[in-house]
């Protein structure tokens, strides 16, 4: 009994030490090379209802790249870290349907984390998820205007799981499901911060749906002062 209490106590101290010494991984993802030009979404423009929501020509956003090559919408995550998800307790991730487009279109969540899909449009959408990983099930739900948010979650990790609307076939969102809280999505400046990573050696991978769908890996060591990892994804 005494031994058991001692072990529990030691484990608690170890966990506390790890949490207290946890640090952030920061870095920038840049794109080298010229991406293809984005296209006007002609069917959206031509749609009698959805077209009215856009005063300018709506375009695709596959590559959001800054002047210095800073790449937005890249997912950076720790590779091989599984079973650490705090998804059930995590804040839900919101995906809105606005102007007959998903916003945001690139999202990352933990396994088990709730995704709330809103419909801010005065038109009907159907939210059709098409996972490919075993354990994640395909769903297709109608969502009327002003109806309650749909709550969706996935139990298995998967990269770029597709959300689509079949009523408006240009509408897509891509959700990466990670089995840990250690991931981030780059902003328009290409920067990311993965928070509260316990010290240790890791493989960090940067994924971009078009430029690097399989991921670009980097070995790093996280100390109590954190770590940095910059990625340059090359377009071939």
């Amino acid at each position: 009994m005494k031994l058991k209490s001692s072990l529990v106590c030691a484990a608690g101290i170890l966990t506390l030490t790890q949490v207290l010494s946890a640090a952030d991984i920061t870095g920038t993802v840049t794109l080298k090379g010229t991406p293809p030009a984005e296209k006007t979404i002609d069917p959206l423009k031509a749609d009698p209802t959805c077209g009215k929501f856009h005063t300018e020509n709506p375009t695709t956003h596959f590559y959001t790249v800054g002047a210095g090559g800073e790449l937005a919408d890249a997912i950076v995550m720790l590779k091989g870290v599984t079973g650490k998800s705090t998804g059930a307790a995590a804040q839900p991730q919101v995906i809105d349907q606005k102007g007959c487009l998903y916003s945001p279109q690139i999202v990352a969540v933990q396994t088990g984390q709730k995704i709330l899909v809103k419909n801010s449009d005065p038109v009907l959408h159907n939210v059709h998820t098409t996972p490919t990983a075993a354990g994640n099930s395909e769903q297709n739900q109608a969502q009327m205007p002003a109806s309650p948010d749909l709550s969706i979650s996935f139990s298995a990790p998967e990269n770029f799981l597709k959300f689509k609307c079949d009523v408006h076939p240009w509408m897509f969102a891509w959700v990466t499901v990670v089995d840990s809280p250690y991931f981030a999505v780059t902003g328009k400046d290409g920067k990311f911060t993965i928070k509260d990573v316990p010290p240790g050696k890791y493989t960090v991978t940067a994924l971009h749906r078009k430029a690097s769908p399989a991921g670009l890996d980097k070995q790093i060591e996280v100390t109590s002062s954190g770590a940095s990892a910059d990625f340059t994804i090359e377009l071939k």
Binding site: P35, P36, P43, T130, A142, V167, H168, P169, W170, F172
Partner: protein, 376 residues
Amino acid sequence: MLTALATLGLVGLGGVVTSHEAGMAVPDWPTSYGYNMFALPMRFWKGGIFYEHTHRLWATLVGLLVVLLTRWLGGFESRRPLALIGGAEVLAGIAVFLFRPELKATGHFLTGIGGVVLMAALIWTRKGSSQPGLCKMGWLAFFLVQLQGLLGGLRVVLFKDHIGILHGTLAQIFFVLLCLIAVRTGWWWEQTGLRMPLVDPVNLRRWAFLVTALIFCQLLLGASMRHQHAGLAIRDFPLAYGKIWPATDSESLARYNSQRVETTVSNPITAFEIRLQMAHRAGALLVLIAVAGFLRSARGQGVFKGVLVLSGLVLLQATLGAATVWTNKAADVATGHVLVGALSLVTGAVLCMILPCGSLRSPQSTVVPVESGPAH
């Protein structure tokens, strides 16, 4: 003929649905957004829903026409089997509701179709059954239309693309069957004035079967390509990524995908899809060669006009295939490609049906009833 024309329209609508990636725009079946499918309010008929729901309603019309056709071909003798089948379907539907409530969509379908079949059995007719062959074709169409409806619905509720491929392929077979029935029941089949001599019907029959089989394989490949939801796997023609045979290694695939900017299709292309399209292109070449051989063999013979029509359709189909690539799979062009494919298959099948009749009577020199054009 009416049923065959309605089915051609249905095949076209199926092409419109897949061309617009709208197959899942109505998430439930056989209800539509919770409504009885015949009572879906007009405010829902927008975007992909318009295409998918029209396809469903049109399919119901075709189903009704086929049940009536079966009754007509079967004459008064078909009353009892239809009543038994309809009753069994209604009972099966009720059983599904009671014991497998999770499959209630299938229960709705069975009771609905069973009710229609029962009503068809109630129609009083003194007409006797048609020739046994025709009667069997009618029954085959009767079962196929129900299977086809069930497959279409299961594609939606089970999320299976493979069912979609089967649904698309079976649609072509079903259309061929109805066209053959239309030809067999048409005035031109009975007319003896169109009998024309054939020098070598056995050889012609071989050509007809070869061309038709090749066209069918092409349609199978086409249906598989449409259900990959990846758009055009190869975006140039006559070359493929600038080569006669494109590279499909992982580095090349990554390059192709990184340069693609698609608006309405989204899946990354794979090596399988590239090979599928290359097989489709090679198949098209084979069909063109085969149909040229068929045309050469048929020169001066009774079926020449029919083979000429088939050649014209195949040529048009090849042009539409190229145009599908050049227009980046424009929905109207891609739908036209589906329709002309169906018409080519039917023309080949009608020629296959015509030719054996003559050759069985006299393999050396015979006459067969020949229609002057395709049966549609």
